[in-house]
Symmetry: C2
Subunit: 120 residues, 2 copies
DNA sequence: TTGCGATATGATGAATTTATCAAATCGTAA
DNA sequence: TTACGATTTGATAAATTCATCATATCGCAA
């Protein structure tokens, strides 16, 4: 999948995360986590992306080994290449919850601070 | 942490993965997963990076909320911002194992194919 | 073969990231 | 205050990614 397989493991791992480092690609992977497979048309409808835009993102996901595709007649179906991709998304959700929670707590704390004197 | 908190959640999630999308940054986070905290000097020694190079990467990790830093005198210590970061790395390792395993199996299968006639 | 729906690929400019070096800043001892 | 070790920040060029549009390709029915 990466030609002669000479790519360092850290590079391959970084590539996995690169695949995940775009909002639409996360959405695609989440759709594929929620159902066994999805056609490109389905994903276009769900994400609202234009066909060629989605296809470019799907190409990245294929390139980094996160999804696999299968053409049946004129319809192409995608699925997660490994179930661990869904696990990754799951943990990311938990991390995001922590982060957003913490961020909200920080903003509340700032809001409770005394007002600074104006500079004008 | 993201100013007025107006960034869409998918953007924030993508940012998390962006933080992870570089080999040296993965290494740093793995070091911080393996021990409670590490000083910059320690990480310089382990990674072999130059100080300013490492600092730029640490800045990205801080920016995306993956690590927190604390200065004690002239030494700065870093730790994971949340334990879920370590979980993420753990699942990524499992995914990588699958991927590498599959990749090896694919290469073995190709190796077993009959040799194509030469084109010269 | 032609035409068409579905999808992928190519191309390109803008935006962002990466790599690297120079300079600034921080904390502290003298 | 000066000097120094430790670390961060600024700057910049090269590389890569992102966004978008045009074009090509695939599979199949007629």
């Amino acid at each position: 999948m990466f030609g002669d397989g000479e790519l360092p493991l850290y590079e391959i791992k970084a590539n996995l995360f690169k695949g995940l480092a775009h909002p639409y690609r996360i959405r695609v992977l989440e759709i594929l986590s929620a159902q066994d497979e999805a056609s490109v048309a389905q994903m276009i409808e769900i994400t609202g992306l234009e066909a060629s835009h989605l296809s470019q993102h799907l190409s990245v996901l294929r390139k980094y080994g996160l999804v696999v595709s299968e053409r049946r007649a004129s319809i192409v179906f995608y699925k997660l290449a490994y179930p661990q991709v869904a696990d990754l998304l799951k943990v990311a959700r938990q991390l995001l919850a922590q982060l957003v929670n913490h961020s909200s707590a920080q903003r509340a704390a700032v809001g409770a601070l005394p007002q600074l004197p104006s500079q004008s």
